[in-house]
Symmetry: C2
């Protein structure tokens, strides 16, 4: 950030009075410009013992597989965002959403919220951001071609819990380089 | 938003190619400026059958009671943010955080994530944003002086589940006017 989005004056990085961390503050009108983490929300869309994966048509990680997910938009609930992304990326409708995984990725200031959900329609398929969409059982998952560490981690927990027949909320942190804790 | 934070040219509200909703786009350098919901994270800090509440020293809702909570900052995990806010507002240290409540407030583009946590220290007290901090049992909660509908809703579920001796994740939506669903 270089200029104030309200008055176009240059901004300075300084700690405002009563605050304890640097913010971009306008040298003209004094507006404080905050920057905060974004939420990525999406679904594990379930059909019997299989789940829906999408092969990415866009960068980053074009050609690799992921769960349908994307940035939560203003004026959406997290469930609405997860359903919208699933519809946009996989043309799949879902219901009965339950929060399954909560992962913070602090080095890129993102928080992932992934919901288990019931897949409703059979005519799913690639949206504009996907090359291919398919239903995968545990043995068919392309484990070495998963786009993001947070998705790999989510899927590992998911299938392990599935083998034990009981799902509980998974939460954790994804560190730079992909290590989870 | 009126001006580009990168080059100070005026921005226009339009739907970028490949997108499906209006964004502020710079008329000079073409930068697309996204705006997304913020996360508010905090704690239900437990000590035996009581929890910690703070009386707000700042607007909005100065003088009313709330759980310690605030905006997640960049490069924090949601648990770190909840612990930091609990320390800042109530000078209370906590551990053993477990996600308890997830509420979307779409009309103000906020997502609340409240964690149950164990209160560790006895020398808690008001931070700079609180007038007063105290431990409250269910019968002492100032129900008519709770600052925000999302906190009222969280506390209602919490004490009801507590009576039944079992906690499960609570999630929902807070609508304009305070109604929950």
């Amino acid at each position: 950030m270089k200029f104030c989005s309200q008055c176009a004056s240059p901004v300075e990085l300084l700690i405002p009075e009563g605050d304890n961390r640097p913010r971009f503050v306008c040298s003209g009108c004094g507006t404080i410009h905050y920057s905060n983490p974004n939420i990525v929300t999406g679904c594990i869309a379930e059909r019997d013992d299989r789940i829906l994966l999408c092969r990415r048509a866009i960068e980053p990680r074009r050609g690799l597989w992921t769960l349908p997910a994307g940035f939560l938009e203003n004026h959406e609930t997290v469930e609405e965002g997860a359903m919208r992304e699933t519809l946009e990326e996989a043309r799949a409708r879902v219901d009965d959403l339950q929060l399954y995984a909560l992962f913070s990725i602090p080095h890129i200031s993102q928080v992932y919220m992934m919901f288990r959900a019931r897949l409703l329609n059979d005519d799913f398929g690639p949206g504009s951001e996907s090359l291919e969409v398919g239903l995968f059982g545990e043995r068919d998952i392309p484990w070495r071609e998963i786009a993001f560490p947070v998705i790999h981690e989510t899927l590992e927990h998911y299938f392990e819990q599935r083998r034990h027949g009981r799902f509980t909320l998974v939460s954790g942190t994804i560190h730079k380089g992909g290590r989870a804790s």
